[in-house]
C-alpha cells in the first residue's frame, strides 16, 4: 500500500514533465513544415503593405463636409501608420482656400473647430478638376500615361491591402463626380476586377458615404473585397453637424461615427471588424449602414482594423539555419581594413587626417613661396632698375 502510493506519487510528480515531453515531441514533428509558408497561411492577414485611396467627389462650398470627410479619413489613416507615399488623396475642390472660408487654410470637421484637418503637412494628389471618373479608374487599374508622376499612381502589388474610401453625392448605383459626371457601381466593380486580375491587391476594403451608398457595392464580383456603406437603397445619408461660423455642415454622420470609433484605437490595437460593424446603429447614423462580406474569405473577427486603416505590417523574426552550401563571401575582408580602420574602405575626397605631407594635385607649398618670391623680386627689380 505504502509502496504503491509512493509509486503513484512519483508518477504524479513526473506527469507534467512527461506531458511536456510529449508536447514537445509533437511540436518537434510539426516543425518540419516551411516557416515561410506558415507565415502566409496563417489566419491573420497576409499583406505586407497598405495603401489608401480617399476620394471626395463633389465640389463647391456647400459640400464642405465631403472634403472634411475625406480629410478626416486621411488624418486617421496617416495617424495609424500609412505614409503619404501610400495614400492617394483626391479632393474635387479646395475649401481651405475658398474665398468663403472664414478660416482660410483650415478645414474643420466638428462644431467647435477643435482640430484643423488641413494643417500644414498634407499631400493632396489629385486636386480640383483632376478628380474625374476617368482619372479614378485609371488610378485603380494602373493604366496611366507615362507622364503621370509616382505620387499620382497606385503602386500596389499582390500583397497590398487597399482601403478605398469615397464620399460625395450619390444615388442608386451611381456616385456623382464634380457635378458633371457619374461613376456607376458597375464601373467600380469592373475596375476592382481588373485590379484582381492584375494582382494589384491582396485584400480590398471599400467604404462609401453617400446617399443610397450600399447600392454601390452591390455589383462587386471580385474576391477578397470587404465593403461597407452608409445607407441602403432609397435612403439618404445625413450630415452630422453644422458650424455656425463656417456656415455649412462640416461632417457626415456615417463618417463621423467611423472616425470617432477609430480615434479610440492606435497602431497596436487588436480591434477587429466584427466589433466595429456591430457598432453601426440607426440611432446615431440615422440610416441603415450596411456591410458586404461575402466576397471576403477571412472571418471578420480575425480581421483587424489596422489591416486596412493602418500601416502595420505583420513581422515574424525567424532563425534560418546557415546553409552549408553557401559560397565564401564575395568580398574578402581586407587585411589592411582590419588594421587601419574604416577610412581606407571609404575614401573621402578630403582625407580625415591633415595632409600637410601629401602633394595636392598641381599645387604645393613650394609654389606659394615661389609666388611670393617672384612678387617680391618683381617689386625689387622695378625699384632698382626703374625707380
Amino acid at each position: 500500500m505504502g509502496a504503491s502510493q509512493g509509486v503513484v506519487r512519483q508518477l504524479m510528480l513526473r506527469l507534467p514533465s512527461c506531458l511536456l515531453a510529449l508536447l514537445l515531441s509533437f511540436l518537434a514533428v510539426g516543425q518540419q513544415t516551411n516557416p515561410v509558408d506558415e507565415f502566409f497561411t496563417r489566419t491573420s492577414s497576409t499583406h505586407t503593405n497598405n495603401w489608401a485611396v480617399l476620394v471626395c467627389a463633389s465640389r463647391y462650398w456647400f459640400n464642405y463636409r465631403h472634403m472634411a470627410n475625406a480629410l478626416g479619413m486621411y488624418r486617421t489613416v496617416k495617424r495609424l501608420g500609412i505614409p503619404d507615399s501610400n495614400i492617394i488623396l483626391m479632393l474635387a475642390d479646395d475649401v481651405a482656400c475658398n474665398t468663403r472660408n472664414k478660416f482660410p487654410g483650415s478645414v474643420y470637421a466638428n462644431q467647435g473647430r477643435r482640430l484643423d484637418l488641413y494643417g500644414d503637412n498634407i499631400e493632396v494628389d489629385y486636386r480640383g478638376y483632376e478628380v474625374t471618373v476617368e482619372n479614378f479608374i485609371r488610378l485603380l487599374t494602373g493604366r496611366v500615361e507615362d507622364s503621370v508622376p509616382r505620387s499620382k499612381r497606385l503602386l500596389t502589388d499582390e500583397r497590398s491591402n487597399v482601403f478605398v474610401y469615397m464620399t460625395g453625392h450619390g444615388g442608386n448605383e451611381f456616385l456623382k463626380f464634380q457635378d458633371n459626371e457619374e461613376i456607376s457601381a458597375f464601373d467600380i466593380a469592373d475596375a476592382f476586377e481588373q485590379m484582381w486580375q492584375k494582382k494589384r491587391y491582396n485584400e480590398l476594403f471599400f467604404m462609401i458615404d453617400t446617399c443610397q451608398a450600399n447600392t454601390m457595392y452591390s455589383k462587386f464580383y471580385s474576391p477578397n473585397i470587404l465593403a461597407t456603406g452608409s445607407s441602403m437603397l432609397d435612403e439618404n445619408s445625413y450630415s452630422h453637424e453644422n458650424d455656425a461660423d463656417i456656415g455649412v455642415a462640416v461632417i457626415d454622420k456615417f463618417t463621423h461615427h467611423v472616425l470617432s470609433y477609430l480615434e479610440g484605437i492606435n497602431k497596436t490595437s487588436k480591434a477587429n471588424f466584427k466589433d466595429f460593424f456591430e457598432t453601426y446603429n440607426f440611432e446615431t447614423i440615422r440610416s441603415h449602414a450596411g456591410v458586404r462580406s461575402d466576397l471576403f474569405d477571412r472571418k471578420l473577427e480575425d480581421t483587424l482594423l489596422t489591416d486596412f486603416f493602418g500601416g502595420v505590417a505583420q513581422v515574424e523574426v525567424m532563425d534560418i539555419p546557415p546553409n552549408p552550401s553557401v559560397q565564401e563571401p564575395l568580398v574578402k575582408p581586407d587585411q589592411k581594413l582590419a588594421q587601419e580602420g574604416v577610412d581606407d574602405a571609404f575614401p573621402r575626397s578630403i582625407p580625415r587626417q591633415s595632409l600637410s605631407h601629401v602633394n595636392p594635385p598641381g599645387m604645393s607649398g613650394w609654389r606659394l613661396w615661389l609666388g611670393c618670391a617672384l612678387m617680391v623680386g618683381l617689386v625689387l627689380v622695378v625699384g632698382v632698375f626703374r625707380g
Binding site: 582625407p351 602633394n359 599645387m363 609654389r367 606659394l368 615661389l370 617672384l374 612678387m375 622695378v382 625707380g387
Partner: protein
C-alpha cells in the same frame, strides 16, 4: 602739431581696437561690404582648401587672385589676431597715399588738410565697414590710391606696378591704365581752371607696354602659384561671365537673374562695353587734368562694375576731398548726400527683409540698389559738370553763361 599727431594716433589705435570686437565678425557675411570676389570667408576657404590638398580654383567659392592666396598663406598668415592688423596696414597705406595725392596736387603742405583727409579715409563708413568686414575691396582701394599717388609723384614704374597688382585683384582696374599713364606724363597739378591740350600721346605707348609686361609677369607668377591658367577663368572670367549671382549693391545681378541663356552673352558684352566706353572720352576731355579723369573713371567703374561693394562708392566720395576747387560749382551736393544716406540705410534693411525675414522680396533690395546707383550717378555727374564748369571761370556780373 602734437595734437594732430596725438589725434591721429588715437584714431588709429581706436580703429585697431574696434577691429577686434567680436560682434564685428557678423560683418563678414554682409553682402554690401564684400562681394563673392572680395569676401574674407571665401579667402579663408580657399586657403584652407589649398592646405588640405584641394585646388581652390576647381569650385566656385574661391575667386581671389592666386597672388592673394600666396601672400596670405605664407608671408601674412591670416588669423583673428593678424587680420585686423593687416587690414589696418592697408587702410593706412591708402590714407597715406591719399594725403600724398593731395599734397602733389596742391603743392601746399597743409597738415590740417592732410589730417582731415586721413581721418576721413579711415572713418568714412563706406570704407570703414568693408575694412572691418575684412573685405579685400579695402586692399583694392589701397592699391588704386597707391597707384595714383605714385603716378602723381612721377614714379611711373611703381605706379604701373601697383596698377598691375590691382588689375590682378580686380580686372576693371585695367580701365585705369589710360588715365594713370596720362597722369604720369602730365602731372597732378590742378589745371581744371586752365585747360590746355596734351600733345605727346605717343609717349603713352611705352607706359602701356610696361604695364602690360608687369601684368604678364604677374600672370606668370599667378600661374606658377596655381599650377595652371585655370585661375584666370575663375577670377578674371567672373567679371566677364558673371557666374555668381549673389545679391550685391551693383546693377548687374538682378538683370542677369532673369536673363534667358540665349541673351546672356549679348548682355554681358553690352554691360562690359558700357563700363569701358567712358574711359577714352573722359581721358580726352580731361587731358589737361588726368587726375580728375582718373577720379571720374574710378567713380564710373565703381558704379558699373560687376561685383561692387560699398568700398567702391566710398573711394569716390573720399577722393572728392582732393578736388576742393570744384566745391563751389557742385549743383546738387545735398541731393547726393541725402541719396547716399537714403540708400545706405535702405540697402541693409531691404537685404535683411528679403533674405533673413522673408517679408520682402528681391525687388525691394533691387530698388535700394537702384537708389544707390542713383546716388553714385548724381555724385559722378555733379563732379563731372563741376570739373568742366571750373574751366569756364567765375561769371562776371551782368553776364550769362549759355551753352551753344
Amino acid at each position: 602739431m602734437f595734437l594732430r599727431r596725438l589725434g591721429l594716433g588715437t584714431l588709429i589705435a581706436a580703429r585697431l581696437l574696434l577691429a577686434y570686437h567680436p560682434a564685428l565678425l557678423h560683418l563678414q557675411d554682409d553682402a554690401q561690404l564684400s562681394s563673392p570676389l572680395t569676401s574674407y570667408k571665401r579667402l579663408l576657404e580657399g586657403i584652407f582648401l589649398f592646405q588640405n590638398g584641394v585646388d581652390p580654383y576647381t569650385g566656385g567659392t574661391f575667386r581671389h587672385s592666386p597672388l592673394l592666396l600666396a601672400l596670405f598663406s605664407t608671408a601674412f598668415p591670416l588669423s583673428s589676431t593678424t587680420a585686423p592688423i593687416i587690414w589696418l596696414a592697408f587702410d593706412l597705406l591708402g590714407a597715406v597715399s591719399l594725403a600724398k595725392i593731395y599734397h602733389s596736387r596742391t603743392q601746399a603742405r597743409d597738415r590740417n588738410r592732410n589730417f582731415v583727409l586721413v581721418a576721413f579715409y579711415l572713418l568714412n563708413p563706406y570704407q570703414l565697414l568693408p575694412s572691418l568686414a575684412r573685405s579685400t575691396a579695402s586692399i583694392e582701394n589701397a592699391l588704386s590710391l597707391l597707384a595714383s599717388a605714385f603716378a602723381c609723384s612721377g614714379k611711373s614704374s611703381y605706379a604701373l606696378l601697383a596698377l598691375a597688382f590691382l588689375t590682378h585683384l580686380s580686372m576693371p582696374a585695367v580701365l585705369l591704365t589710360l588715365p594713370i599713364s596720362l597722369l604720369i606724363l602730365r602731372g597732378p597739378h590742378s589745371s581744371l581752371a586752365t585747360p590746355t591740350a596734351f600733345h605727346s600721346w605717343s609717349k603713352l605707348i611705352p607706359l602701356i607696354a610696361e604695364y602690360s609686361i608687369y601684368v604678364g609677369i604677374l600672370s606668370i607668377t599667378a600661374s606658377s602659384i596655381a599650377g595652371g591658367v585655370h585661375w584666370s577663368y575663375k577670377t578674371w572670367g567672373a567679371f566677364l561671365t558673371l557666374p555668381d549671382l549673389t545679391p550685391n549693391p551693383g546693377l548687374w545681378w538682378y538683370f542677369f537673374t532673369e536673363m534667358f541663356d540665349h541673351f546672356r552673352p549679348f548682355f554681358l558684352a553690352t554691360f562690359s562695353i558700357h563700363m569701358a566706353i567712358y574711359v577714352v572720352p573722359l581721358s580726352l576731355k580731361f587731358q589737361h587734368d588726368p587726375l580728375f579723369a582718373a577720379y571720374i573713371i574710378l567713380g564710373i567703374v565703381g558704379l558699373l562694375k560687376p561685383y561692387p561693394t560699398l568700398a567702391d562708392a566710398g573711394l569716390f566720395l573720399t577722393l572728392l576731398g582732393v578736388f576742393p576747387e570744384i566745391y563751389q560749382y557742385l549743383r546738387t551736393p545735398i541731393v547726393t548726400a541725402l541719396l547716399h544716406l537714403h540708400s545706405s540705410l535702405l540697402l541693409p534693411l531691404f537685404h535683411k527683409l528679403w533674405l533673413s525675414q522673408g517679408t520682402g522680396n528681391a525687388n525691394f533690395f533691387y530698388a535700394s540698389t537702384l537708389v544707390f546707383a542713383l546716388a553714385n550717378g548724381f555724385a559722378i555727374l555733379d563732379a563731372l559738370q563741376a570739373g568742366l564748369r571750373v574751366g569756364l571761370g567765375t561769371r562776371p556780373d551782368g553776364w550769362e553763361l549759355v551753352q551753344i
